[in-house]
Amino acid sequence: MKDNYLTHSRGFLSWALTLDHKRIGLMYLVAVLSSFLVAGIMALMIRAEHLAPGADLVDADTYNRLMTLHGAIMVFLFIIPSIPGALGNFVLPIMLGAKDVAFPKLNLCSFYLWIVGALLAVGSIAAGGVDGGWTFYTPYSLQDGRIGVIGMTMGVFILGFSSIFTGLNFVVTIHRLRPPGMTWFRMPLFLWGIYATAILQILATPVIGITMLLLIAERVMGIGIFDPALGGDPVLFQHFFWFYSHPAVYIMILPGLAIISELIATFSHKHIFGYSFIAFSSVAIAVFSFLVWGHHMFTSGMSPLAAMIFSALTYSVSIPTAVKIFNWLATMYKGSISFQTPMLYALAFIFLFTIGGLTGIFLGSLSTDVHLHDTYFVVAHFHYVMMGGTVIAMLGGLHYWWPKMTGRMYSEFWGRIGCLLVFVGFNLTFFSQFLLGSLGMPRRYHTYAAEFQSIHVASSIGSFTLAAGLFITLFYLVHSLFRGAIAPANPWGGATLEWHCTSPPPHDNFSVAPTVGDPYDYSDLSYDPATGGWVSKAGAKA
């Protein structure tokens, strides 16, 4: 392979002190996938415990800690940073046609803040007492003996800054580093999604920061704002917490939606349908996401008036999302669809995310939420949107940009096997949980009534299948690093700018400034069997 960003310089320090967004993206990728592994193993332990109704594998305390840490690590260490940190960092500047993000040192700082926050969060596990669920509701999280809560909340605070700095970087990059000719409406939709995400990261994250600080202050100083025994209001804590955590779930899904736009267009080999609608819907989702946080609190004791307002607003959020899905379907219609692994993940996404989104409607309606809140129905809903949504999209994006990042092609056969196992396993795991929830099985419970066991067993079998699919994916991806075919510059026939540079890209992304055109115009591309990639018909390559 020619000289590229991987070979440009060598040695530990050249990675530890790198300012190259591509290397930072790779480091993020390893970091978030490691947390995914840790929290995923916790999930498997939870599912193993639930094979039988009683307490067999772990005791109640351990179970509570497992489920808290599974949630906290997945949310704060994995999902929120995953697509922006790993894929966004790598792809954004290249897709934009820029040489780097706006503030490369801040980018590296973001990564190290993630490391520090992760160490604090994981370290707090040892201190103990982190067992009330990842939402840290008061007054439980303020009780004596929960010293680990302080470590975990500090970790979350620092991770918040990592997220803020990443978002800040991306907003300035997209505003200021677009090359000549790339107007806002000539940007690929992936960048619109990342942009909307970045706005949320900047504006929402500080609120969780102050919430965590106030939690610590309440614990240490006894201010009396969240603890009823001190005159405080626990519902206020929930307002504080969810004001960030609801936009946070959109921070999780918006980049995923953005990836799917790219995958659908490229693998349908057809111009994306309704570009402006999809672009505006990303921004609309970001704006609306600030208005609906109360729907996590319907049964908390909040006033019926506020509950009604939040419920009505919650329905509005589904509209921009639906806009995206219809536009994707219209894009596929009469397109020339190829079913390679990234496209399989994209199709899985549409199916799974639709289910997840629709079940959110049940939860947004006040009368049904009274029955479904804090049951497995909620668990199933958010796993469908977060895992069936974001994780599937991330896997799709990873497979899509893998050749670009590593210069290697993975095995298409094993890719499809992995996707199939993940899809089947996922549905078995979590669709069963919709049933469990409607039948009344509460969430976060260590033991359960015997009548639920058969469904739990089905769900656990699904989870092991899902795990198998994910491990297979891990294996063949790592294997491709050593034995994979050399990747051409444009293996899939994408029309966005990152396919104009070599795989892997050179250190400075582009040796010649790329010419900006329509990012979804495939008319110029044709498949060249000799290289296994797509080339411009005109013969000129940037």
């Binding site: 025994a229 206020l236 004001f243 006033s303 019926p304 506020a306």
Partner: protein
């Protein structure tokens, strides 16, 4: 308002030419801010009722903040996007405060007002205290007529101090 003479140096295409403000102007802004501060204190000494006092104080503070942001922070001469950012974050602040306060005010009916004091003193107090009964009594006293079901609970006194249930 500003020095329009270029600062020293050979300026080329692409250089960032700073917008220099005259020191007299900056001093004038400072004096205005100090006067407004004095005004705030004076206004606070005139008791108009709590809401109006807060309103006046916040209004003056907003004027001061606008002066600092527009002229000390250069927003007046900057690209408008920076002002948009500030205004948007303030809008979100209002949204957050507004909804929390609205909700808080609305559910006050269901809050046991002296819960903290009871909790705290209960440690020193052998009587034992029943939160549910206290809430019912509170509603009963406050004249919430609809709780027909609550009238039957005559056995729950308000604060049965002589009840010895071994607390």
């Amino acid at each position: 308002m500003g020095d329009h003479a270029l600062p020293p140096g050979d300026w080329k295409e692409g250089d960032h030419v700073p917008h220099v403000v005259s020191w007299q102007f900056l001093l004038g802004i400072l004096v205005t801010l100090l006067c407004l501060t004095a005004l705030t204190v004076i206004a606070a000494k005139v008791h108009l009722g709590s809401t109006l006092n807060v309103g006046v104080a916040l209004a003056i503070a907003t004027v001061k903040a606008t002066l600092v942001a527009a002229f000390f922070m250069h927003l007046y001469w900057d690209k408008p996007i920076n002002t948009v950012i500030l205004l948007f974050s303030l809008a979100l602040l209002s949204l957050f405060l507004g909804f929390s306060l609205l909700d808080g005010m609305q559910y006050q009916d269901s809050v046991i007002k002296d819960y903290a004091y009871r909790q705290m003193t209960e440690k020193n107090y052998k009587g034992g205290w029943d939160p549910a009964a206290a809430l019912e009594a509170h509603h009963h006293d406050a004249g919430h007529g609809d709780d027909a079901g609550h009238g039957e609970d005559a056995t729950h006194g308000e604060d049965d101090k002589v009840e010895d249930d071994g607390h």
